[in-house]
């Protein structure tokens, strides 16, 4: 493996982390958006706040990580993607601003009308941001991003069936992943009715994601046959892993084994991302730019790998600390959602040593 390939692997690790943590975060915003009104809607939003409050910002640093690795190690690919896909990426940036602002303000401006507005913005941008990110991924996978400064079509590169389906797939996957996480969070909070509600949502979103994924495969077969073929050739192992993990989640959710379900859901999404990367290999931009062609001079690649090594030593333990403290309820500001008002039962909170 060349050092360019190694850096490409680092890039894909970042994309997988972002798909998992950022995705779960977007999904939580989606569920808050569709929580409905009344006491139940409020409790769902409380659960979402309580679950993502301390971690949402760190979840999104993975995006910065991906951008920086891409422009440092594969500048030509970065130039091609950001210039041809100016429109969807501008919309992604807009979504990120609205989402961050919405989340920051809805927790601080409690009780005012601004809170409701901030909540809506947070929810809507949780829908639009992953969708447009998906169209970008679809444009790349579909081979519609040629090398150069705005060399591709500004509109049809991302406004096509494949891109739109991948956009929908990003949204569905985020919703699915988040619902699985929220099942576990609801159990941790001791709200049994919400645990059941999110189990149903997780099953529904999982089936929806599978359906959209299959539709995307059909379009991919017609649209970008080489990628499709490689998906069932060199990328077959991760495809199988992803499918098995997905089925496993369904089985575990039915048996109410939520911690295993969470791990398998993460595996399903991460394996899917890797399947995409392996199917594209050795291309960064299918059919026009390979990893080797886009790679920066060797000292830069070495530098990126070195920094990644430092990140593993410094950042991963810190992230572990953050998630552990959050899971053990040692940090947090939002109140946990109140128990089911209709059926006052003893909270079944079992603070497991996760």
């Amino acid at each position: 493996m060349t050092s360019a390939d190694a850096v490409a692997a680092v890039l894909w690790v970042g994309i997988a982390f972002y798909a998992v943590f950022g995705g779960a975060d977007f999904g939580a915003g989606l569920w808050a958006l569709f929580a409905g009104g009344g006491t139940r809607g409020r409790r769902i939003r409380e659960l979402v706040d309580w679950a993502i409050g301390p971690v949402w910002e760190s979840n999104h640093v993975w995006l910065i990580f991906v951008l920086v690795v891409l422009w440092t190690a594969f500048s030509a690919a970065f130039e091609a993607i950001t210039s041809t896909l100016f429109i969807p990426l501008s919309l992604v940036a807009l979504g990120i601003v609205l989402r961050g602002a919405g989340f920051a303000f809805h927790t601080t401006a409690r009780g005012s009308r601004g809170r409701v507005l901030a909540q809506r913005l947070f929810g809507l941008s949780s829908l639009l941001t992953p969708f447009f990110m998906g169209t970008v991924a679809g444009a790349v996978a579909g081979g519609r991003v040629p090398v150069g400064n705005a060399a591709g079509d500004a509109v049809t590169s991302w406004l096509n069936p494949l891109s739109l389906l991948i956009g929908a797939l990003f949204v569905a996957t985020s919703a699915y992943l988040s619902a699985v996480f929220l099942v576990r969070e609801a159990r941790r909070a001791g709200v049994a009715d919400l645990e059941r509600a999110f189990t149903a949502r997780a099953l529904g979103a999982g089936l929806a994601a599978a359906a959209v994924g299959l539709a995307a495969l059909l379009v991919l077969r017609a649209d970008a046959r080489p990628l499709f073929d490689r998906l069932f050739d060199q990328a077959l192992p991760p495809v199988i892993v992803s499918a098995l993990c997905g089925l496993g989640v369904l089985a575990l959710l039915r048996r109410r084994s939520v911690r295993g379900a969470r791990a398998l859901a993460v595996g399903a999404v991460a394996a899917l991302i890797w399947a995409w990367g392996i199917a594209q290999f050795p291309y960064l931009l299918p059919r026009t730019l390979t990893i080797a062609e886009a790679a920066a001079p060797r000292p830069t690649l070495t530098g990126v790998l070195l920094v990644f090594g430092v990140a593993i030593v410094l950042v991963l333990p810190a992230l572990g600390l953050l998630y552990t403290l959050a899971q053990r309820d040692l940090i947090g500001d939002a109140e946990r959602p109140e128990a089911d008002p209709r059926r006052p039962s003893a909270p079944n909170a079992t603070p497991g040593p996760s």
Binding site: G53, P54, E57, S58, H60, V61, L63, I64, F65, L67, V68, W71, T72, A73, S75, A76, F78, E79, A80, I81, T82, S83, T84, F86, L89, V92, A93, L94, I96, V97, L98, R99, G100, A101, A104, T108, A109, G114, G148, N149, A150, A296, P297, P299, T300, G303, V304, V307, F308, V310, A311, L314, V315, A318, L321, L322, L330, I331, G332, D333
Partner: protein
Amino acid sequence: MILAVSSQLAPARSQMAFTLGFHIVLASLGVAFPAIMLIAHYRGLRHDDADALRLAQRWSKVTAVTVAVGAVTGTVLSFEFGLLWPAFTGRFGGVFGILFAVEGIFFFLEAIFVAIYIFGWKRLSGWAHFWTGVPIVIAGLGGAAAVVAVNSWMNQPQGFTLTGGKVTGVDPLKVIFNPAVPYEVPHMILAAYLVTGFVVASVYAVGMLRGRRDRHHRLGLLIPLTVACIATPLQFAVGDTAARSIAKDQPVKFAAMECVQRTSTDVTEYLGGRCTPDGVKGGIGIPGLDSFLVGWSTSTQVTGLDTVPPDDRPPANTMLHWAFDAMVGICSALIVLGLWFGLVWWRRRDIPRTKWFLRAVALSGAAAVAALECGWIVTEVGRQPWIVYNVMRTEDAITGASGVWVTFVATLLLYTVLGVATVLTLRAMARRWRTEDEGAAADGGGDAPYGPRPGSPPPTPAPVGGGSSGGEA
């Protein structure tokens, strides 16, 4: 095509200037506010000072908002590297990118520990909680250094080989430690501390002017003001060194800052005035001073704008000159404010009693932000027409995509709303806290963090600002 590109230049530069100018205020708060917050926190724990502890707790909630907004405006800047300047990043991303990779680590650590710190008030123990704040301060310094080093590299590019317009060799150490780093990095970090200190102090000065002269407000003014007043004279010295280095490293930028048209010795220093090709009109001229400031002698030769063709000179020369003068002027005024405060504190262990002092502090926050913006105008407009000094022109870096006018207008509107919402949110928080305090005063107790500590006597206000390094617990 050429027409399309050049018509994109104005909105792209405006959008970059606007988003960077907006973000830099939040970034400064992000770098320096945690340190000021930890000073209060340290004082609260060490001296069992409930007021200081409450300040630290509230400042952490303010930090939660400013860091969140700063994180999104910072993300927008990373997008703009591609959305506005893809040809720049496409060619040089492999050169300067490594600095952003380093910054990424610091940003990650910052986001993680900010979350732990601001959400840790309820259940972490006092000193453990304090220590979770220390990485934020270190990450803020490291992150700022890495990002500003990229800007330094754009001013003093080195450490790469270009072959046929493509980067074929990189020396990362030469990129990281480029010649502008030693003055630009400390200049920005000090600016962050100076701006944050004066901005926070100005909030409490306004409160005191409105009659809220309790210990909470005094401490809220003293801690940040002390930090800012220490940073200001240091900043003046660093800035002076920077200006002299720029006269050597980027003589055309310096000539534009000082409106020097022709290379000569015994150059007059002009304060204000209008820059014209025939020299400065109006303004106060001090003969020989510009030469003296550059080389400690009036016979020092100062490079003029005439050394390069008009196309290679920075635009908006008068604005650039005024921005430079305003920055230096504000810094000087803030030094006087610091001397006034320091002198009175030294004599009486108290802040000056006159309302004029509080009025001056109340203004200092806005003044410091203005100086910060002026500084960025000087360094960014002064580098034009180059995006990479003497290597790549800004017009060659721009996106070929159309629609930058649209995103610029959208950004303008969005950020205006964002700025207003941020200020309104912070004001709502302050109002809520005041109501809480009034309620607590009526009940005879407050909601101090780590559980209430009734009966602990308020310690005598020792000089605040010392002992901030916080080693001996």
